[in-house]
């Protein structure tokens, strides 16, 4: 049972990092499109 909470904590941390990296990549893509358009 203890592993479940530990796994959840790590999934949350790495998941949030991926999500924020995705947000930054999406923002960069939209700015690039705006520059081209």
């Amino acid at each position: 049972m203890s592993e479940g909470w530990v796994v959840l904590a790590y999934v949350v941390v790495y998941g949030f990092m991926l999500a924020y990296a995705g947000y930054l990549a999406g923002k960069a893509r939209s700015l690039r499109r705006r520059a081209e358009g």
Partner: protein, 243 residues
């Protein structure tokens, strides 16, 4: 994206992998067992939040002195990443607290409440930045708030010493630290990895903020009505303008 930026991102990804394997390889703690492994992501998240808000403070001060908007962008970007790490510290703390303390949240705990207040104050800082279109005004007001808001950081850090509530004392506080040696190495490795992630995120966010500012400036210039466009041409020929 510049080459050093790509290298920094790649380094951060590798460091996170090394940090994860060091956390998995760390020994289980005597009383908490595997739950103590949450420390390797919870503590670096909290430290990086402090560092990020320190950079926001420094960026604000440098802007006030130099008036270089670059430092305002650094301050704003660091605050956004700091809010991100504060959220991580809060969530991982709650996940750790439930199996160990029997509760996700304690409204009377000094560390939890001060961290939550710090989180919302810096969310307010980000909201303030978005609400002011003029770059100079935005930079000045957010620099002042960034300096004032930093007062909370030492309060959050020392809250475990100032108040005897649920949260334990400092995990790692130098050579006389109560932490076992087996935990120090993975903790420091993860701290280094999270610092690289912070640098990668803040560098990318600052670069995007710079591009956004260029667009906003171009749009603002395009919208400016020419001075005197409302004045009609004078009638110098003596003829009436009224047809």
């Amino acid at each position: 994206m510049k080459r050093w930026n790509v290298a920094l991102n790649a380094l951060a990804v590798v460091a996170i992998g090394v940090g994860f394997s060091s956390a998995v390889g760390a020994p289980a703690e005597r009383t908490q067992g595997d739950f103590a492994r949450i420390m390797f992501v919870h503590v670096p998240s909290a430290w990086l939040a402090f560092l990020a808000f320190g950079v926001t403070l420094a960026g604000g001060v440098i802007w006030l002195v130099s008036k270089s908007l670059r430092w305002d962008r650094v301050a704003g970007s660091s605050a956004e990443v700091g809010v991100f790490f504060t959220a991580l510290a809060l969530v991982t703390g709650m996940i750790w607290g439930y199996p160990v303390w029997g509760t996700f949240w304690d409204w009377g705990d000094a560390r939890m409440m001060s961290t939550a207040i710090m989180f919302f104050v810096y969310v307010g800082y980000l909201a303030l930045r978005r609400s002011i279109p003029d770059r100079e005004t935005r930079a000045r007001r957010s620099a002042i708030l960034g300096i004032v808001a930093f007062v909370q950081v030492p309060l959050v850090y020392f809250s475990v010493n100032l108040f005897r509530t649920l949260h334990q004392g400092a995990t790692f506080s130098g050579p006389d630290s109560p932490i076992d040696e087996g935990f120090v190495r993975p903790l420091l490795i993860n701290l280094a990895a999270f610092t690289l992630v912070y640098l990668a995120f803040t560098a990318s966010r600052t670069r995007l903020a710079s591009i956004e500012d260029d667009f906003d400036e171009a749009a603002a210039l395009a919208d400016i009505e020419l001075a005197g466009s409302g004045i009609t041409e004078p009638n110098l020929g003596g003829e009436s303008n009224d047809e």
